[in-house]
């Protein structure tokens, strides 16, 4: 598969006269992990929102290769189709797991929601599937009927990932998935994400301000500043030999122990 799964051209989002992100272009290939790094307010999240259709771009296109094989402009397609993609072919992992989970229902119901959304109507099978996914994300299967409110932050984040991956999506958007977790929990989560990405051949767009996370997870990096992509290339290349002054600043700002 040499054809890109997502092709972005000249993507610009304006908030009135203020620029959210400007003239972003990239191709994302199947199985590839693209990291978007930059400081707060540099337009990372704006870009991510425009990529999955939550924000309407001022101009530019986002094309996605559907399972039928055609490249469809996600902003030109109807909302029903986009929401269907969002429930089945795509996944979105929020920084705060509480934004992505239904806190009032059990872990099993959280995982089963997407399955029921695509027409599963057999309780036993839905539950078996949920238990299987809890195992995959290293949560004790005994806790399938517990509320996610009783889970630790790291477990909630892993549950959110399970809930999103249950319909076998092909493209995953992640917004600071490890933010707010302590380092050991973060390491375990990164390990899990890396395994899942490799096993399932997922394409991932991951937004992070943490360069260590970017180094571990992403194949390619885009560095953003003030809404513009100032540099993009292979992760190791950018982190080891940054060319743009801002990238150099970013890399030199990493704390050393």
């Amino acid at each position: 598969m040499d054809e890109p799964i997502m092709a972005v051209e000249g993507l610009t989002v304006k908030y009135g006269s203020h620029i959210g992100c400007k003239e972003v272009c990239f191709d994302l290939y199947p199985g590839e992990v693209l990291g978007i790094v930059g400081e707060s307010g540099s337009g990372k999240t704006t870009l991510l929102n425009a990529l999955h259709g939550r924000l309407e771009p001022s101009h530019g296109t986002v094309k996605y290769r559907t399972r039928m094989g055609g490249m469809d402009d996600i902003h030109a397609m109807g909302e029903p189709q986009r929401r269907l993609l969002m429930r089945t072919d795509w996944a979105y992992v929020h920084q705060n797991p509480r934004d992505g989970l239904r806190m009032a229902v059990s872990a099993g119901a959280n995982i089963g929601e997407r399955l029921m959304g695509v027409g599963w109507r057999h309780y036993g099978r839905i539950r078996d599937n949920a238990v299987g996914w809890l195992e995959d994300v290293e949560i004790d299967t005994e806790r399938v009927d517990d509320s996610p409110a009783t889970f630790s932050g790291g477990m909630q984040q892993r549950l959110q990932i399970a809930r999103n991956l249950v319909t076998n999506p092909r493209l995953v958007f992640m917004d600071e998935p490890t933010g707010g977790l302590d380092v050991s929990v973060q390491a375990r989560l990164l390990d899990l994400i890396r395994t899942l990405v490799a096993e399932k051949g997922l394409s991932v767009v991951i937004v992070t301000h943490d360069l260590a996370v970017a180094r571990l997870l992403s194949h390619r990096l885009m560095v953003m500043k003030s809404g513009e992509v100032v540099e993009q290339g292979l992760t190791d290349q950018i982190l080891d030999d940054p060319q743009h002054p801002y990238s150099q600043l970013l890399v030199s700002s990493i704390l050393q122990i």
């Binding site: 909302e79 029903p80 929401r83 429930r87 239904r102 009032a104 229902v105 059990s106 099993g108 119901a109 089963g112 929601e113 997407r114 399955l115 029921m116 959304g117 695509v118 027409g119 109507r121 057999h122 309780y123 036993g124 839905i126 539950r127 399938v144 009927d145």
Partner: protein, 300 residues
């Protein structure tokens, strides 16, 4: 001389309001199960006492109609009595407690046991018309879910029931899908009554006053109660029969008799129970020669 009938327009509401509500009702009938917004009026009673149902009844009421009002199946509880008197006063229509004689039946929480006919209309009082509300608090989002028929969330609620209680523990306001399309709240009737809604010959209208919504199920429309393949829909069952009329097919209320745990189960539909007693049926708490005894007490 001014009489009460001159003070109120027929059936309390002014004609412009009735016209507006009629339009909403027509739209509701045309799209079975769809919640039509309407400009709900202030009624001379608090929200939650049936203001939606009353506005629907007031709108469809004609001088020739015969009205029955029930609350939890009973004709003689506060809510039923006050609404019946309200229409007797403002519309001067005939009222009845006999299900088969009524042309309009306004109800809270029950469907009469007697099967309804084509020439009857059942008006439900609805507190919360949106079946998805407790799962999704945003109105914009629930409307979108209805529009796109994204109803997976409703099953999440049933899933949660089974995982917590081992069975679908929702016993009232049990979610239904009307005409194979809209997810519809049957109002807080017991799920015992859900099967009666399916292919009912009578028109069913639902009014939610506080939430400002009207919806309808036209006669002979499919109404399916949601379930799972391995946990099919079931209605409540009781171990005993009605203590007064001996019926083992009707919906029973539990009545506490003393402070030592004594209790009995009686029909929640008071008219149904009385009719059976008059026909000579009797239950464990009602010896044969006392049949009809409750009726006499009321009259006295």
């Amino acid at each position: 001389m001014t009489t009460e009938n001159d003070i109120y327009n027929f059936a309390y509401l002014d004609e412009q309001t009735k016209k507006m509500i009629r339009r909403a009702i027509f739209k509701a009938i045309a799209i079975p199960g769809y919640q039509v917004p309407f400009a709900s009026r202030e009624m001379p009673m608090p929200y939650g006492w049936g203001t939606g149902g009353i506005q629907v009844t007031a709108t469809i009421l004609c001088p020739s109609d015969r009205l029955k009002v029930i609350d939890q199946g009973s004709d003689d509880t506060t809510n039923a009595v006050s609404i019946r008197r309200f229409f007797a006063k403002t519309a001067n229509v005939e009222t009845t407690t006999k299900t088969e004689q009524a042309t309009i039946i306004q109800t809270r929480h029950r469907i009469p046991e007697t099967a309804l006919r084509e020439d009857q209309t059942l008006v439900y009082q609805v507190p919360i018309p949106e079946p998805l509300r407790f799962l999704e608090p945003r109105e914009v989002e629930t409307r979108k879910m209805h529009a796109l028929e994204e109803y997976g969330l409703m099953h999440v609620k049933l899933y949660e029931d089974i995982s917590r209680h081992g069975a679908i523990a929702t016993t009232y306001a049990y979610p239904t899908q009307v005409n194979g399309r809209y997810m519809t709240d049957p109002s807080p009737i017991p799920k015992f009554d859900n099967p009666k809604m399916d292919q009912m010959p009578a028109l069913q209208l639902f009014g939610a006053g506080r939430e400002k919504r009207i919806y309808a199920i036209p006669p002979y429309t499919d109404v399916r109660s949601l379930d799972f393949e391995d946990h099919p829909f079931e209605v409540q069952q009781w171990e005993s029969a009605c203590a007064l009329c001996g019926d083992d097919q009707s919906f029973l209320d539990e009545v506490i008799l003393d402070d030592r745990g004594e209790r009995m189960f009686v029909c929640s539909d008071s008219h149904h129970c009385q009719t059976r007693q008059e026909q000579g049926f009797h239950g464990s708490q009602m010896p044969e020669n006392h049949a009809g005894g409750l009726q006499e007490k009321h009259d006295g």
